[in-house]
Amino acid sequence: MIRLPAVNSRLTRRQVGGSAVLLLSALFLSLSVPLAGLTAGSAAAQTLTGPQSLTGGKLLATGGVTQLEGAAGGGLTPWAVIGGYGTRDQIGGNAFGTYVRSDDYELTVGGAIIGLYDRVELSIARQAFDTRDVGTALGIGEGFTFHQTILGAKVRLFGDAVLDQDSWIPQVAVGVQYKDNDRDGLLRAIGARDGNGTDYYLSATKIILEHSLLLNGTIRLTKANQLGILGFGGRDDEYEPMLEGSAGWLLSRNLLIGAEYRMKPDNLAIVKESDWFDVFVAWVPSKHVSVTLAYADLGTVAIRDNQRALYLSLQIGF
């Protein structure tokens, strides 16, 4: 029995009746549309559909971790994957903190990523490079720190690293990283042309699932000295193409081990710059946390050679 709500006694019986008719009509209309669908009879009748969430749809670890400049990828190099766990109908994001300790230096990085519909990635990262005792040696003071802000954007052009298992076509993305160092004056004094600059890159990522293998190749146009920490440009002010690569092996759903190589320019006249190489382990216990541990050979950084570094990164997100 339907109970009508308490009605103002001033309403006439006709008005109450009219309201009831309207209410019942609305009720009938709202039911009849899906009912009509059910009774239509053909195969195109009722569509089966399930609940959809706003995020969290990607398979575990398929967003990569966060590289040193804030883009989704490995530890050193950006991949073609879009960060976060959002599928093409969803949004994802994460925040990260990375600590790198080499023989003579310390680098800390923090930042965040937002991934939109598995198509666009926006990132921000802040780097602090502590020269420690080398600062003293350089005459700029012990613990002198360079800071750099990096704004990144990446667009997936085509391909799906996880799903395109029947094709050699990789997932391909283009990206840009705008870098702004806060020590313009000093950087010019050491021979850099600029205190800020922009890197452009193209990444191709492929997961060969039947062998549990992940492969990435990146080509980057850059003028940045030591990622931009030592400024941009030097002897010349030209963009140079640098090659970066990652190879990883999925040991289990939660564990990826691999190695990376990153070519570096050598723009400054007064100091040498080395290519970088690392081996890493990424542990991804859930879609909300990942921890990456790496051992890197950074070669010569400013006036110190043989820089070997321990790298630790924590990423949280959705």
């Binding site: 009748a45 569509t47 559909t49 399930g50 039947e210 092996w249 081990i257 190695a259 710059e273 290519d275």
Partner: protein, 157 residues
């Protein structure tokens, strides 16, 4: 004056490390795993049927996926999926069900739904202790089917 390590040297180190890791992991986990095919690692057809029964129960109980299975018979689904998985793993079975496109035509399946199903399959395979590498062999065969399963909004009437 760039300190560029020879690419060939780097590649040798990387490939050696990966190969060494592969040998160590497969050697220490299951000594016979290297010789067994993926089909064998699933326990043959019997093993596939047991795992698939668990998988079908799992997706029916999954609130994200249950709605897609209202019209289907569990028994029929278990038979068809077992035959399909067996075929994809090179076990020689014959899959007698419909093609992926027609079977899923009446469903609005998103990437999220597809992945949720893959996750349930992974949980079932883990439960039956199927080695990770063998799991990925099956997933590699199933992944391209996403094109016929996931609804393309641009193609909606």
């Amino acid at each position: 004056m760039n300190d560029r390590r020879p690419l060939s040297a780097v590649l040798t180190v990387v490939l050696s490390a990966v190969t060494l890791a592969a040998v160590l992991v497969t050697g220490t986990l299951t000594p016979s795993a290297r010789a067994a095919t993926a089909f064998e690692q699933f326990g043959g057809l019997k093993g596939i049927e047991a795992m698939t029964t668990d998988f079908v129960d799992r997706v029916h109980a999954n609130p994200r996926l249950a709605a897609f299975f209202v019209d289907s018979s569990k028994r029929r689904l278990i038979r068809q999926l077992s035959d399909q998985f067996c075929f994809e793993l090179g076990g020689g079975c014959v899959y007698k069900g419909g093609d992926m496109k027609s079977v899923h035509a009446r469903m609005e399946i998103t990437t999220e739904h597809f992945n949720a199903l893959v996750e349930d399959l992974q949980i079932s395979m883990d439960k039956f202790k199927i080695p990770f590498g063998a799991q990925n062999v099956l997933l590699a065969k199933l992944a391209p089917m996403n094109r016929d399963i996931i609804s393309d909004p641009s193609k909606k009437k």
